[in-house]
Every structure is written in C-alpha cells, then in structure tokens.
Amino acid sequence: MMNQCDQARDGDRDAGDLETSTGAREEKSDGDGGPVNSNNNNFNNGRRKTISPGAGEHPLQYNYTFWYSRRTPSRPANTQSYEQNIRQIGTVASVEQFWKFYSHLVRPGDLTGHSDFHLFKEGIKPMWEDEANKNGGKWIIRLRKGLASRFWENIILAMLGEQFMVGEEICGVVVSIRFQEDILSIWNKTASDQVTTSRIRDTLRRVLNLPPNTIMEYKTHNDSLKDNSSFRNTKITL
C-alpha cells in the first residue's frame, strides 16, 4: 500500500522533479521550508480581523490557516522564493468554516507539479524558522500516487478533532505533491520530546489506518535547515 521505496534515501528524492531537473540540487529543493526574510507580502495578504465561529457552528480547539505553495519551475529557487511562493488561503475557527474552505479547494491528488497544501494553526507559518517550529520536526509518510487526497483528509480531520492528545505540540500538516510520490507530513513543536513524537506516530498509524510495515520517517527542522531539504536524510522507523 505504501511506497516502500529504498531509493527514498538516495539523496535526490524531493529534488527530483523532472520539470526542473537542471540545477535542482543547488536549488531549494522542496516546498516546506526556506529562510525567513522581511519580504512578507504573502504572509500579510489575509485580513487581520479575528476569525471566530459563527452562531451555532462547532468551534475548533484552535483556529487553522490554509496555505498553498508551488515551486515555479522557470525561476531558480533562492532564499526568498519559498516565502514568495507560499500563499495564505484562509483561516477557519469552526468545523463548518473548515468544510467551506476545504470543499472549495482542489483535491491535492488533482494538483500537478511541485506543490503543497498546508494547514497550520493560526499564527504559525509553515516554515522551519517560525518560532513555533524552530525546535520542532515532522513525521513523514511517503504515499504512492493516488492516495494523497484521502490521506490528506484523514490527517486533517484527526488534527482538527484533537485526536493526537499531545497538548499544544501539533503545529500543522502538509501534503506535498511530487513527481513520483506524494508526501504527508505532520509538524510538531519539540523534536526532542520522544513521548510526544511517538504518540503522534502511533496516532497516525491508527487514524490513517497504516499497514504495520509502513515506513515512517522523522526529520527535525534543524536538520532540514542544514541540508536545505524537507525529505532527505530522515530517520527511519518501522
């Protein structure tokens, strides 16, 4: 069911989109992180208004913000490109508001090219350097093509429904559409907190109904900053 790919760790996994094969190794090779800079246009295009549940709606424990990012093949990625390519779509405070946005967004499985949907707690940017993320890391599940939409929905529902039971630790979830595979990630605040990370892993297995032999990988954002990649050089657990 899952992509049990050994070649996943061959070092060129998430940089390998053929559309941008030239110079891909030097580029920022993936979509979920990049250096912060002061050019914050895309982060501030949402309204500053406080989002709250409407009358009669079911409130969520946290507000969440949808983001979308896509690597533009024409322009070589530089330190600013990630932040410039990521776009806020909207923030939700209730279950009903979530469904409104979700049902008006393309399924991740129908996306093409190198693109990502992110759903993060309001106030946390889907960037390694964000205050909430800088000591954190993420679990990675590689999916063969065709599974992304269903897994994305299930991981979102588990997060919104507070199924992980790790206090404030969850930061957000990402689905990354890549050339030969799609990747699901869930970010948490404290990479060194093993009780938390293993609880997240076990909950993922349950809510995503993963087969027991599914490979799960963990990577700290600090390591991602060092090798400038999201999905290479991960720690594997079975």
């Binding site: 309204r47 549940p53 424990q61 806020q88 779509i89 409104k100 008006h104 939409s149 588990a158």
Partner: protein, 125 residues
Amino acid sequence: MEVLTSTSGNVELSKRRIGNKHLQPARPLRRLNADLEPRRNGEIEKMACPFTEKTPDSGIGVDQLYEIIHFHTSQGPRKERISYSREFLIKLASSPIAKRKPDFLPDHPVVLEKPRDPDMPVLFF
C-alpha cells in the same frame, strides 16, 4: 507581562463563548424588565444610595482583581479540549452551511467556484 498576555488570550476565548450565547432567545430578559416596571421607583432609590456615599471605584479592589485574573487564567477552556471524531466531522460536511462559499477566498487556481463533492465514500474504512 505574563498576566497581560494570558488575559488577552482569555479575552479572545470569552468572545467565543459570547458568540455562542447569541443563540439564546432574548425574550426572557424582556419579560424580566416588564416585571420590574411597577417597582422602578423603589429600584432607583436603592441604586441612588451608593452614589451619595461617594465611594469611587468601590467595585473591585486590587486583591479581587487578582483573584478574578487568577480565576480566568486557571480556568481556561483549553483544559477541556474540543475534540471531534472523524465520523462526526464528516457528518457536518454535508450540512448546507458547510457547502457555502467562504466570504473571503482569494482568486487562485486551486480555489474552486463551486464546492466539490466529498472525496470519498464514508464507508471506505
């Protein structure tokens, strides 16, 4: 500073609560007012007393203020987490309100004009 940040957090939370209370009918309140009508003069007299005594800020002392702040910060609803099962969330997806287009949605290739149908059969698992 700590007190300040935690209380501002609470303001937001209590707003949420107030939001939900709008649902309650306002009628009982009006009825209360109506009942009070005949006794209005008496009420005014009682109310007048504190003002003539000239004790400004008699409402809340510093100690009480701290008590209130402590009460609110220690009793945040964060402790009882709002959790929902997958089945419940999916049930809400079919409510008419959940299919309305959000008021603010950027014009973007990944944004659809009309809501798409739910991805997957609920009975899949």
